[in-house]
Every structure is written in structure tokens, then in C-alpha cells.
């Protein structure tokens, strides 16, 4: 059985082993076991970072000078290589405690000057929470993983171009040795942006999520509180595209580029929403732009790097390779991980033996290279040389089978020409690729190999769980504040808007010219109708033989059954427009009631009803006088008629009126001001309830008004008959109540009214009746004419079509 060497520690393992038995490193590409062990891989891979973070956090928690790095629980989780780093740091700390303290002072000072959110991060006490955070910041943002993997494997993506937009980290809060770049600062923090679920809240905000800051978190609202590299972020972003070709591949870790790509793509897709997002950002971080937030937030991630760098430099000033301002186009391009960046030197450390063979210049790890300013475009010296190199890195460098590939620094640009394709790696680099030697090639979902592109694990395929885990995630959707409408919806909305606008704007009424044949025809019909009515009204021909329906006889019988002087309730439920018809229908009834000296109580649920009622009585008397009849001369209207007035509330008031009529209409039309209660009127003597009326007559012009009385009042009437005097338009729909016995009798329309007048021996308005019948007959003729015209037109059309 062949053995498999660990890419981390070089120890041999069984061929089918997944993890190194010594350092627990991932032996095989994680993509191959993605489906089953993605989470576990993630936890393993981020341990070194989480440990560093936790170390910082525990250090910030401890009082100054105490500065303990040890955390037993944490120690057990960290891999060996990191343990060696920490062990070495511990040794150096013991050797030079002052510097160690100064480093911690820097840290504490940083903590003081850091925004509150950073303090909050640093003051996290629960280890689980710390691990989660460390996991989170290592994770890539959603949507960036694909880009990152493509960048590494395909080399055709423009993520490197976007990676150049990674913000430089620089500021007063950063130790001096990190300020050496002045303009540029690694933005590897951006790479720590994890998946959405694991993202810190401030990173969620970067992605446009409505992240809520924890209570103790204060947004870095003012620029001076932010690191300087935040302020230069935008400039770096803008210049990045211009200078991307000047940078060598590997200047920016792929995951940084991937993050930038994700940011850019999101920004492009939601271009219309950028203002909304900015507004949300403003609420989240007042006074800062989105990018400033994106960069400013992860400032805490400089701390592990800072400490990593400070460990070997504990006894001297910050290394000149970072202290000295690095000039040149590549650095102006604002990528914090340009040449000589912290992650690059880690990778280059891994390839040290090869570099020593192939570089003709100064040794990369020589002290000269560290102290001399690096000219633009040249390789930057390595921070660790000779003995400064950590043991684990030395081991890796010396082990042939564990040499790291430098693919993690391969950053294909959008042009695809300034970058080296994976297949175009230099021969020496191909030769040292450990993946083919130690592990089977893993295939990504897209058939491309996913390779860790940054960090100390760079080059290991599928080693970083966040990469693989994020493959399953889709790009975060860009939510638009604008309502997206289809064309049809837009057309409907426009139509509705136009309709509403037309309604709100008064139309300029103009005298429309009668040029439309239809309008002219309508005018002609009107003229003919009026002429016929006038002519027929002038005739004095008597009317005989009118049909008397059964309900009319019943009505008459009920009226005649009312005792003389009995109280009768009259409800006038019609609008003023129907007063002409109702007057003519009700005249005969009123005549009979007054002839019987009945006491009339008037009420209405129509505001104009009480006045119309009085007018009807007056008009009835006048009409009778005109036609030669007379109203009962002994009828004293003042004492026999009481007007209860208006009942507000429609059917509700009728229900109240049926329940307690005296409370519902306490004051009449004329007694509201003097306070006289209507029910003390002589006309209502002996009446305390609706059942006390001898009859209830409803004069209704519509189905609704009649139905209201039938539904609300009639059930409470008991034996008291309810009679209806209905307009012709309401009669057809009130007939069923007649058939059901709810209505005891009905006069429906003018014709029935005239018949009742004949029955009650009330003089008729012959002129009116003649006009009415002529008008009805004219309508019949018009319908027939219409049928003839239509038939003729159809006939002509049929002939035309047959001849054509």
C-alpha cells in the first residue's frame, strides 16, 4: 500500500486517510468529500485563523502586561504549525518582555482607538462565539467562491482585476510596521468575509443585508476613527483596473479578488438599487460610503497578521520592507496584497528552495532584502529569513513533497494575458506542485479543480471549506426598491392613472355640436316624444277600462277597513325627483284617508322626505281642487297630521323605530326647537307602538326603500297591515313581498294609481293620463321601428354580401 504524505507536516499517512494523523490536515482535496464533510473541513481549516483571533481577543481582554497567549482549550485545537508559531512567540516574549509588552501596548492602544465594533469583537469572551467569528471572517462572501475557484482554475476570470480593488488597510490604528506601505495595505480582511450565515453583522451590511448591529457595537461614523487604508480604498479601487497589468500574478489573493468581484457584480446588478443600499449603509454607518464600511469594518483582521509579523521582529524595529514606503505603480494600484504582502511571503517561503535556485538576485530571505527599500516593480524581500523562518515553514520548505504551489497567488486578470494560466506555470513551479504528487486531482462541479488560493494553505485543492461550502450558495439577490412591472401591468397602471386624473380634473364643458347622427337621432326622439306628450295631454278623451290587478283591490280593501279617525302611519320614502309620480299615485289614497278622518303620522328616512310628505298632502288637495273634487272640508290638518320628521341611518333607524318609536322620533319636524315631543301630538293619541296604528302605508320609489320597511318594520307590526304605494320602477321587485303576504296591498305605478282613483271615486287627471299612455305607446312604436330598421339593415347587408 502506498502512503500519502501530509502536505502540511510531511508525515506519511495511509493512502485512504482523509486527515493527517499527526497534524490533522486535510490530505485529499476537500471537494471530493464535499458533500459529507464540508463543515468539518471548514472548522479544521480556519483553526489557525480563529486561533490567532482568539489569541488577540484574549490578549485584549487581559490587563496590560499580563498578556497571556496561552489558552489551553485553544491550544488543543490549533494545528502544529500554528502552535509552533505561538511557541516561538512565547519564547521571544520571554526573551524580550518589554517588546512584547510594547506590542501589546500597541494592541491595547489600537483597541482604544478602534471603533467600538472592533472593541466588541476583541472583547468577546465566549470561546464558541470567538470560533464562530473566526470562522466567519475567514469565509468568503456569497457568490465569491465561484469566482475564486474560477480564478484559480480557469484563469480567465476577471477577478484579479476586481481584486485590485481590494481596499488598502492603513491608518493610525495600525502599527507602524504595517504603515510602511503608506498607501497600500493588505485587505485580506475582505477575504474573511464569510458566508451569509456566518458573516458578522457589519459584513452583512456590506452585502446590502439589513444587518442589525449588536447593542454594544458602534459604527465607525467618522473617518478619523477609521484606519487610513479605509480612506484610500476608493482611490485604490479606481486605480486598480489601470494598474492591474503592472502587477504580477499573486499580488492579490484570489479570495480577495473574488470578494471584490462579488461586490462589483452585485453592484452592477443592483445598480438601480445602489441608492437604496447606500441609504441603508448610511443608516448603518452614518457618514461613510459603502466601500469605506466594507473596508473599515475588517480592520481587526490586521491583528493576526500584525502579530505574526511582530513575533519574529519582537526585538527590533518593524521590518523595513513594510516600514519603508513602497513606491511604484504596483503599489499605487491599491492592492494591499501586492508584492511582498504578508500572504505572499508565506507562499514564497514555502518555495524558498526553488527561489534560491532560480533567482539570480539577492536571496529573498537575506537581511539586505529586508532592510532595503524595495524599488517599484521588484520583488519585495521576505519578512522572515534564516532563523526567523518558523519551524513549520522550514519543514515544509525542506520537504520536497510538501512544497506549496504558488497557485494561490495566481490572479488572472480580466485580460487573461497579464496572468499566467495554470497550465502556463513556469516549469520550476510545475515541478514543485505537490498536488499531483500527493493527492488525486479533485474535480469541482464544473470540472475545474478548486485550489486554495491564499493563506498558508494556498495550493491545496479544496482545502478551504468556505470555498467548497460556498459553492452551493447562489449570489445574493439584489433587491430593488423599484417595483418591476411588466408591460401589461404598466399599461394598466397608466390607464388607471389616466382615469383618475380625468376624474380629478374638471372637464371643460363645451356645447357639443350636434354632428353625430346618433346624437341627432336622440334629439329627434326627444322632440317627437315631447310633441306627442303635449298633443295627447291636450286631448280630453276619457280613460276607461283600465286593468285593476288583485293587489290593488286588496289595497283598497285595507284602506276601507281602517276605522274612521284611526291612526295611520305614512312613510314617505322617495326622492324629490319622483315626487311627481308619487303625488299622482298617492292622491287617491290620501283623499280616502282624509275622507275617513284618519290621523296621519308622517315619517321618512330620506332627508327631504318630511317636506315632500307635507307637499304631497298639499298638492293632493290642490290637484283634487283642480279636477273638481274636494278634500274633506272638516279635516283639520293641524291636529290630524303630525310629521315625525327625518329618521337618520336608513335601515338601522327603521329597526330602532320598530323597537321604540317614541325614542327614535322623539321630536318632530316642527317641534325640534321648542322641545315639544311629537308623541304628545293629538294625532298620536293612544299610539305607543307601531302595532297601535291601523295601517302602515309606505310610499316608496325604489326596491331598497320598500324592502327596508318590509325587512325591519313589517315583522314588528303584528296584525297591522303594511300597504305599499310604489313607483312603477320599484313595483316589479316588490311584487314577491305581496305574494308572500308581507304586503297587504299595493298601488304600483301611475296606471294603478289612476285605477285606484277611479275606484275611490277620485277625479282623474285625464290630460296627464292621456299623455302617459301615449308616451308608453310611443315607446312600443319606437321598439318596433327599431326592429324594422334593424331587419332592413340586415336584409341589405345580406344582399350586399351575396351580390359582392
Amino acid at each position: 500500500m502506498s502512503e500519502l504524505r501530509c502536505p502540511m507536516c510531511g508525515n506519511p499517512n495511509l493512502e485512504d486517510a482523509q486527515l493527517c494523523r499527526v497534524c490533522q490536515a486535510q490530505l485529499k482535496p476537500i471537494l471530493g468529500a464535499q458533500g459529507s464533510d464540508s463543515n468539518g473541513g471548514e472548522s479544521n481549516e480556519v483553526d489557525w485563523l480563529s486561533g490567532l483571533r482568539d489569541g488577540i481577543e484574549s490578549q485584549s481582554e487581559s490587563p496590560a502586561g499580563e498578556g497571556r497567549w496561552e489558552n489551553d482549550a485553544f491550544e488543543k485545537e490549533v494545528p502544529d504549525w500554528l502552535a509552533r508559531i505561538r511557541q516561538r512567540a512565547r519564547m521571544e516574549e520571554e526573551a524580550n518582555p518589554k517588546d512584547s509588552f510594547s506590542t501589546r501596548d500597541d494592541l491595547s492602544l489600537t483597541g482604544d482607538e478602534n471603533p467600538d465594533w472592533l472593541k466588541e469583537i476583541q472583547s468577546g469572551s465566549e470561546s464558541a462565539r470567538r470560533e464562530e467569528r473566526s470562522d466567519a471572517w475567514l469565509d468568503l462572501p456569497e457568490g465569491s467562491t465561484d469566482e475564486g475557484s474560477k480564478t484559480v482554475a480557469g484563469g480567465e476570470d476577471d477577478s484579479s482585476l476586481k481584486a485590485a480593488e481590494a481596499p488598502p488597510a492603513q491608518g493610525d490604528d495600525i502599527p507602524d510596521w504595517l504603515n510602511g506601505g503608506e498607501e497600500e495595505q493588505p485587505s485580506d480582511e475582505a477575504a474573511g468575509l464569510g458566508e451569509e450565515a456566518d458573516l458578522p453583522f457589519w459584513l452583512k451590511a456590506l452585502e446590502g443585508e439589513s444587518a442589525q448591529a449588536p447593542p454594544g457595537w458602534q459604527p465607525p461614523g467618522e473617518q478619523e476613527e477609521l484606519p487610513d487604508w479605509v480612506h484610500t480604498a476608493e482611490a485604490g479601487d479606481r486605480e486598480a483596473e489601470e494598474t492591474v497589468t503592472a502587477r504580477e500574478e499573486g499580488e492579490v489573493p484570489a479570495w480577495v479578488g473574488a470578494f471584490s468581484v462579488a461586490e462589483e457584480e452585485t453592484r452592477e446588478e443592483t445598480a438601480t438599487d445602489e441608492e437604496v443600499e447606500t441609504a441603508e449603509m448610511s443608516a448603518f454607518l452614518p457618514g461613510e460610503t459603502e466601500r469605506e464600511e466594507r473596508i473599515g469594518a475588517p480592520a481587526a483582521f490586521t491583528i493576526p497578521i500584525e502579530e505574526l509579523a511582530s513575533e519574529p521582529e519582537a526585538d527590533k524595529a518593524p521590518p523595513p520592507f513594510v516600514e519603508e514606503p513602497i513606491e511604484g505603480e504596483a503599489f499605487v494600484s491599491a492592492s494591499p496584497f501586492t508584492e511582498g504582502s504578508l500572504f505572499e511571503w508565506l507562499d514564497e517561503l514555502a518555495s524558498e528552495p526553488i527561489l534560491e535556485k532560480n533567482t539570480s538576485g539577492a536571496a529573498p530571505f537575506s537581511s539586505e532584502a529586508e532592510q532595503e527599500p524595495t524599488p517599484a516593480g521588484e520583488k519585495i524581500g521576505y519578512p522572515f529569513s534564516g532563523d526567523d523562518l518558523p519551524d513549520w515553514l522550514s519543514d515544509v520548505a525542506l520537504a520536497e513533497t510538501s512544497e506549496y504551489p504558488l497557485r494561490g497567488h495566481e490572479q488572472p486578470s480580466s485580460t487573461g494575458e497579464a496572468e499566467l494560466q495554470p497550465s502556463e506555470l513556469p516549469g520550476w513551479l510545475e515541478a514543485i506542485r505537490p498536488l499531483e504528487a500527493v493527492a488525486p486531482e479533485a474535480e469541482t462541479e464544473g470540472g475545474e479543480e478548486t485550489v486554495a488560493s491564499d493563506g498558508p494553505l494556498a495550493g491545496l485543492p479544496g482545502i478551504l471549506a468556505p470555498l467548497t461550502q460556498a459553492v452551493g450558495y447562489s449570489k445574493p439577490p439584489g433587491y430593488s426598491a423599484r417595483l418591476r412591472l411588466t408591460e401589461k401591468q404598466r399599461a394598466h397602471a397608466d390607464l388607471l392613472e389616466k382615469m383618475l386624473a380625468d376624474e380629478t380634473q374638471p372637464r371643460q364643458a363645451r356645447l357639443e355640436l350636434i354632428k353625430d347622427p346618433q346624437r341627432l337621432l336622440r334629439l329627434m326622439v326627444g322632440v317627437i316624444l315631447i310633441a306627442v306628450l303635449i298633443f295627447s295631454a291636450s286631448l280630453t278623451v276619457g280613460t276607461t277600462g283600465l286593468y285593476a290587478p288583485l293587489e290593488l283591490f286588496n289595497f283598497n280593501n285595507q284602506i276601507e277597513a281602517i276605522p274612521d279617525g284611526a291612526p295611520v302611519l305614512l312613510a314617505f320614502e322617495y326622492q324629490p325627483g319622483y315626487s311627481a309620480e308619487m303625488q299622482r299615485i298617492a292622491t287617491g289614497m290620501l283623499n280616502r284617508l282624509m275622507a275617513k278622518n284618519t290621523r296621519l303620522t308622517l315619517v321618512s328616512t330620506v332627508p327631504a322626505g318630511p317636506i315632500l310628505a307635507e307637499q304631497l298632502i298639499v298638492e293632493a288637495a290642490a290637484r283634487l281642487a283642480r279636477e273638481g273634487g274636494t278634500v274633506n272640508p272638516g279635516y283639520a290638518a293641524g291636529e290630524m297630521i303630525v310629521n315625525l320628521g327625518y329618521l337618520p341611518g336608513g335601515i338601522a333607524s327603521l329597526q330602532e323605530f320598530s323597537l321604540r318609536p317614541q325614542q327614535a322620533s322623539r321630536y318632530g319636524l316642527t317641534s325640534a326647537l321648542d322641545g315639544t315631543q311629537a308623541w304628545t301630538h293629538p294625532a298620536l293619541a293612544g299610539v305607543g307602538d307601531l302595532r297601535d296604528f291601523s295601517a302602515v302605508v309606505v310610499v316608496a320609489d325604489s326596491l331598497e326603500s320598500g324592502r327596508a320597511w318590509l325587512e325591519q318594520v313589517q315583522p314588528a307590526l303584528g296584525e297591522t297591515p303594511l300597504l305599499v304605494v310604489a313607483s312603477a320602477q320599484a313595483a316589479p321587485l316588490l311584487v314577491p313581498y305581496l305574494a308572500s303576504g308581507q304586503v297587504s296591498g299595493m298601488i304600483a305605478g301611475v296606471t294603478s294609481g289612476m285605477v285606484y282613483q277611479e275606484i275611490s271615486q277620485t277625479p282623474l287627471e285625464t290630460g296627464f293620463l292621456n299623455a302617459y299612455r301615449s308616451g308608453m305607446l310611443l315607446a312600443v312604436l319606437l321598439i318596433l321601428v327599431g326592429i324594422i330598421i334593424h331587419s332592413v339593415s340586415l336584409l341589405f347587408a345580406a344582399r350586399k354580401s351575396s351580390s359582392g
Binding site: R507, A509, R510, L511, E512, I514, R519, L523, G526, L529, I530, L533, I534, A537, G577, Y578, A580, E581, R584, P607, A608, G645, Y646, P648, I651, A652, Q655, R666, Y667, L669, A672, L673, G675, D701, R707, L710, E711, Q712, Q714, P715, S727, A728, Q729, P732, L733, P736, Y737, A739, S740, G741, Q742, G749, V750, T751, F768, A771, Y772, G775, M776, A779
Partner: protein, 229 residues
């Protein structure tokens, strides 16, 4: 004729003429009369409500009522005050409570009236057609009454079925009413058309009466004005 009567007569006459100008199409005169009519009617209704509703049912009990009556009247007073906030957009939400009160009362009244005043009596009347103990069946021509009653029952049921729009999903994914329902709906359509024809006639008759009255009014007013001047 008193001057006020002349004024009112002229006002009514002119307004009627302005309305009749609509025969020639929409025009400013017709609009003038319409707006005046709406304004006058609004003012009249406001006055009637003040004198017929608020004064007798709200103000008088509060000012001159007994303690119990005053206490009871405080509730509609409060609700009415809240309802007045509907005028303001800012405070209109305060008026939701009295509006809810109104809607609740109205809904209950509608339900009670519909059940007790229409549905049950009309259903009972429909069934009574076949009750030979009632007067209809005991009429002089029971066969004719029975036929007429059957027509009424079929027409009533068919009309109700016509307004039933429930349908089942057919195997060909089309929704279609049951065949029997379709037949009854077609019959109901005929009865509805007959009823609508009767309603059309009734509306025309009512309008015709108004037209005749207006013609008489014009003639009478002109006669009166000619004699006056």
C-alpha cells in the same frame, strides 16, 4: 304673487331649463345647474342633520336629560367626536372605532332583516305554492294556479341557479358547470330577462311621468310669468 314666490318659481324654472339643455349635450349650463344643486342639497342635508339628529338626540339629552340619559349619551358623543377626526388625514385613524361600530351595527341589521324579512318569507312563499291548504291552491282554478305556481318555483330556482358560478374541473382541465346547472341557468336567464323587461318598463314609466310633469310645470310657469309681467 309675493316676491319670494316669484323668486322661487323663477329659480326652479331656470334650473329646470338648464338641466334640459343637456338634450344638446354636455354644456356649461347643465354643469352650472348640477353644481348648484349639489351645493344646495348638501347645505340642506347638513341643516336637517343638525336639527333632526344632533340637536334632539345628542344635545338635548346632554343639556336637559336626566343623569342616566346624560351618561348614556356620552358614548355617542365620544364616538361622534372620534368620527369627526375622519375629516383630518392625520387623525383619521382615530375614526376607525366609530366606523367599526357603524359597520358592525349595519351588518347585523342587514343580516337580521335579510333573514327574517326576505329569505325565510320568500322561501316559505315559494313552498306555499304547492300547499293545497292555502288560498292559492284552493282557488277557483286549482290546475291553473298549480301551473302558475310551478312556473314561479322553477323560475325562482332557475334564477338562483343562474347566479351560482361554482364549477367542477373537467378531465380536459376545463372548468364547466354541471349539465343540469347549465340547463337551469339558461332557464333562469329567461326569467331574469323577463323581469328586467318589466323593470325597464317601470323605469321608463317613472321617467315618463316626470317628463310629463315637467312639461306641465313649464306650461304653468310660463302662463304664470306672462300674467305676472
Amino acid at each position: 304673487m309675493p316676491a319670494t314666490d316669484l323668486f322661487w318659481t323663477l329659480a326652479g324654472f331656470i334650473l329646470s331649463l338648464l338641466i334640459f339643455s343637456y338634450l344638446f349635450g354636455d354644456n356649461p349650463l347643465f354643469r352650472l345647474a348640477s353644481y348648484l344643486f349639489v351645493g344646495v342639497t348638501s347645505g340642506y342635508v347638513a341643516v336637517v342633520i343638525l336639527y333632526q339628529v344632533l340637536l334632539p338626540r345628542l344635545v338635548y339629552p346632554l343639556l336637559g336629560g336626566e343623569f342616566q340619559e346624560r351618561s348614556i349619551t356620552l358614548v355617542p358623543l365620544l364616538l361622534g367626536a372620534l368620527l369627526l377626526t375622519k375629516i383630518s388625514r392625520r387623525f383619521s385613524s382615530l375614526g376607525n372605532v366609530p366606523m367599526a361600530y357603524l359597520v358592525g351595527v349595519g351588518a347585523a341589521v342587514v343580516i337580521g332583516g335579510a333573514v327574517l324579512g326576505t329569505i325565510l318569507p320568500q322561501v316559505q312563499a315559494t313552498l306555499d305554492v304547492f300547499d293545497f291548504q292555502t288560498g292559492a291552491a284552493m282557488a277557483s282554478k286549482p290546475v291553473a294556479q298549480l301551473i302558475e305556481g310551478s312556473i314561479v318555483v322553477v323560475g325562482t330556482v332557475a334564477t338562483l341557479v343562474y347566479f351560482h358560478f361554482g364549477a367542477a374541473l373537467q378531465p380536459n382541465r376545463q372548468t364547466r358547470r354541471h349539465r343540469l346547472v347549465e340547463w337551469l341557468a339558461a332557464i333562469g336567464q329567461v326569467f331574469i330577462a323577463i323581469t328586467l323587461g318589466a323593470l325597464f318598463t317601470g323605469v321608463y314609466a317613472a321617467a315618463l311621468t316626470a317628463l310629463i310633469d315637467r312639461l306641465e310645470y313649464f306650461a304653468a310657469t310660463i302662463r304664470m310669468l306672462t300674467t305676472f309681467f
